[in-house]
């Protein structure tokens, strides 16, 4: 099952979501943050915003970023469980 971060209610009702899906583009490990048709891929190795789709941390509300930070260990473990061929432990190229 896709792994979805439980975001604070005030962000969920505004359409914010963050998840690792069952079939992701596998490079590098990431969580996808979504709001409406917009999305951001956040690298789980180094917390970079990945290109594409690009954008910046500043596009994402502080409360969502904080929730992602809290969920980070869980997200990293979940990624390794779902994508063992592309584990968090291998550094980005």
């Amino acid at each position: 099952m896709a792994h979805e971060v439980k975001l604070p209610e005030r962000f969920r009702i505004r359409g914010w979501k963050a998840k690792i899906r069952d079939r992701e583009r596998v490079e590098p490990p990431h969580v996808t943050v979504m709001r409406g048709p917009d999305e951001w891929r956040i690298g789980l190795r180094n917390c970079r915003v990945l290109e594409p789709p690009g954008g910046a941390w500043n596009d994402i509300p502080r409360g969502v970023i904080d929730a992602l930070g809290l969920a980070c260990p869980d997200l990293r473990a979940k990624w390794d469980e779902m994508y063992p061929e592309n584990p968090i432990g291998v550094p980005d190229e």
Binding site: A2, R23, R25, G36, P52, Y83, P84, N86
Partner: protein, 263 residues
């Protein structure tokens, strides 16, 4: 969006309202449709009611203007009209089994990158595939075998297929697939565009090889006698591998040696 959006709807339904972010022109009568068909050469036409399809066909039949852009029918198109519409529009799409809600559809269609979204799709079990429709109304057919269960995760349930997350996710019950992962594998143009964006990050053969290997879900050990060679290339220790080596690795990946660099 660049084109004018026309919503063809008899009476005073609420489709125009639902699609308002496209700033559509609502055509509610036969005469209104005829007038726009005569005057407009490129537009995005959305047919909502059965009558509106016949109004459109009637107007097209007497018009000799060039092709008129895109037609999205939110209902089944009567058989005899297929040929006419196929001839007079660049792309024609009938309502698929699963489609985005209208408000989400409008938000997607208003974007320059709408082709990177899926707006609808239908599972065709007899052909073991899912027929997807992208935001530019182009088709993308994907074998169901491309959606595989991961570890203890859910298996895709093709009977519960739907488009979700504003066209960014394909859901098969509890199983969720990222649309961009499908596009990356199935659409060379999409892949090249992403590759271009990444070029400054990594132009190496090793980077491409690693991306492709991971995309295929392969471990280094899956390359047998070439395992060490793959690892060395990926680490950048071999800038120009021998042709035979690269050929063998490429065969294992199901591509030509030249195609590795596309990934």
């Amino acid at each position: 969006m660049n084109e004018t959006a026309y919503v063809l709807e008899k009476g005073h339904g609420d489709h125009c309202h639902e699609l308002r972010s496209l700033r559509p022109v609502c055509l509610r009568t036969r005469d209104a449709v005829r007038q726009k068909v005569c005057g407009q050469t490129r537009a995005f036409w959305i047919a909502v009611s059965p009558e509106s399809l016949f109004w459109l066909a009637e107007a097209l039949a007497v018009s000799h203007a060039p092709r008129r852009g895109l037609l999205l029918a939110l209902l089944e198109v009567p058989g005899p009209l297929h040929g006419l519409f196929a001839d007079r529009f660049e792309r024609v799409v009938e309502r698929p089994a699963s489609m985005l809600p209208l408000r989400e559809l409008a938000l997607v269609m208003d974007r320059d990158d709408r082709a990177d979204f899926c707006i609808g799709g239908t599972v065709v079990k007899e052909a073991n595939m899912v027929a997807l429709i992208r935001g530019d109304l182009s088709a993308l057919n994907v074998p169901l075998s491309d959606f595989v269960q991961r570890g203890a995760g859910p298996a895709p349930d093709v009977d519960r297929f739907e488009i979700a997350d504003h066209g960014r996710t394909l859901r098969f019950g509890d199983y969720q697939a990222a649309v961009d992962s499908v596009l990356y594998e199935k659409d060379p143009a999409y892949r090249r565009r992403l590759k271009k964006l990444r070029l400054e990050e990594d132009r190496s053969l090793g980077g491409s090889l690693r991306r492709l290997r991971l995309q295929r879900g392969l471990r280094l050990a899956d390359f047998g006698r070439w395992e060490k060679a793959v690892a060395r290339i990926e680490r950048g220790e071999v800038a120009a591998p021998r042709g035979k080596t690269l050929g063998s690795i490429a065969r294992r990946l199901g591509v030509t040696p030249e195609q590795i660099l596309e990934f």
